[in-house]
Subunit: 221 residues, 2 copies
DNA sequence: GTCTATATGTTGATAGAC
DNA sequence: GTCTATCAACATATAGAC
């Protein structure tokens, strides 16, 4: 195989993945046809089957493509945070969790934006979440919750997990980028103003955790 | 038309709505076929068209069926809260917003549970949310945000709207009832333990609002 | 109101030529 | 690797008998 054809094939393969990522994120698995994906990628429909097998296989490939690198980036941020001060501040841990995602979403990279939007869709789906969220992201989430325990040693564990649930929901809706905050606020806030969205999310979530997880004795510490 | 046939027809009509509600909530609009809806309702496929028109029309009917009553219940709760004390406490306003939903979701009514799950799906979808969330729920949300302004008079409006966004995301993920908290926590918390989910949500969200909307001068008030 | 039968289109998938 | 051609299955929708 020549260098040229190898490169072109790889490029078409990637174009299918990019198109599938964008469309799955926008309309969900069932809302998208292989023909629409092929059209957006500007390749023949049969190529989706040649490169990835079934539609479900294609979805799996799309989801896994960025999951590993996402875990790596976030793991490094959390580890760095935990190494700078012991015990780490609650705000710092929450920031370590959220900031890498905010930077990705605020960046110019369309592909990553689509991927986060896809994660939002998966996270809110009972059946897709069970298959894709648990295996890919639970290990890192557990690490995050362990970190929270070090700074909230007296926390009721049930409250801690529900706090994570609220944060996950807030984050996920931010991923979804619905643009509905614009209409609601009459222009005073914008769903796509990601930098502002993450700037307020960190103190909001940290305060929430403290309110339900902190021991009454040191609630104003 | 006899009483009996009237009742039966109405019953079949309702069975289609109930089935559509349950399936749309579980798999989204495109993930469900009219045949599956008819099968779950135990009626003929052609009846969906006779009673509701197109598939999209059926979805619209399902969504509107409970929207009005939901708005009424929530409006009463918020109004009652605002009338008991002036200015109302932040926690009371958030509770007025959340508690009616918690009571509905914690009740034994399967239909309402499915409906809230459907709202979760719509809220996280850019294209469906634009069409169905804005018209149905924005007026009440604006009333809620106005109430927040009375108790957080110095709040930056942009922060206030983002706070609402975080609350909406947390609430929505709770609607979705993904059952994934169970796996993540190793049984220490359960997504379907709705009473606990709402009990912690109120102080969590209230503290979050205070952290980003309160004037620094009275941040520990 | 309900069902049978069917029109009409689209879907995912693949066999086979190049 | 890529494209043409085609398949069986399934979708929504409706006309017409009862």
């Amino acid at each position: 195989m020549s260098e040229k054809s190898r490169t072109e094939a790889h490029s078409r393969r990637d174009k299918i993945l990019d198109a599938a990522e964008a469309l799955f994120a926008e309309r969900g698995y069932d809302g998208v046809t292989l023909r629409q994906i092929a059209a957006l990628a500007a390749v023949d429909v049969a190529l989706t089957n040649y490169h990835f097998g079934t539609k479900k296989d294609l979805f799996t490939t799309v989801f896994h493509r960025r999951a590993a690198i996402l875990n790596k980036v976030r793991d490094e941020a959390l580890t760095a945070c935990l190494n700078t001060k012991v015990p780490a501040m609650l705000e710092d841990i929450v920031e370590a969790y959220l900031r890498p995602l905010g930077e990705i979403q605020a960046s110019a990279d369309k592909g990553w934006k689509h991927y986060l939007s896809l994660v939002a869709w998966v996270n809110n789906s009972t059946e897709w979440g069970r298959e894709f969220m648990t295996d890919n992201f639970n290990p890192f989430v557990s690490k995050f919750i362990d970190a929270l325990k070090t700074t909230l040693p007296n926390a009721d564990e049930q409250a801690l997990y529900w706090g994570y649930h609220y944060m996950s929901g807030a984050l996920t809706l931010t991923f979804a980028d619905t643009r509905r905050l614009d209409t609601l606020s009459g222009g005073k806030a914008s769903s796509s103003d990601i930098t502002v969205g993450y700037k307020h999310m960190i103190p909001f979530i940290a305060a929430g955790f403290r309110a339900i997880c902190d021991d009454p004795d040191n609630s104003n510490s």
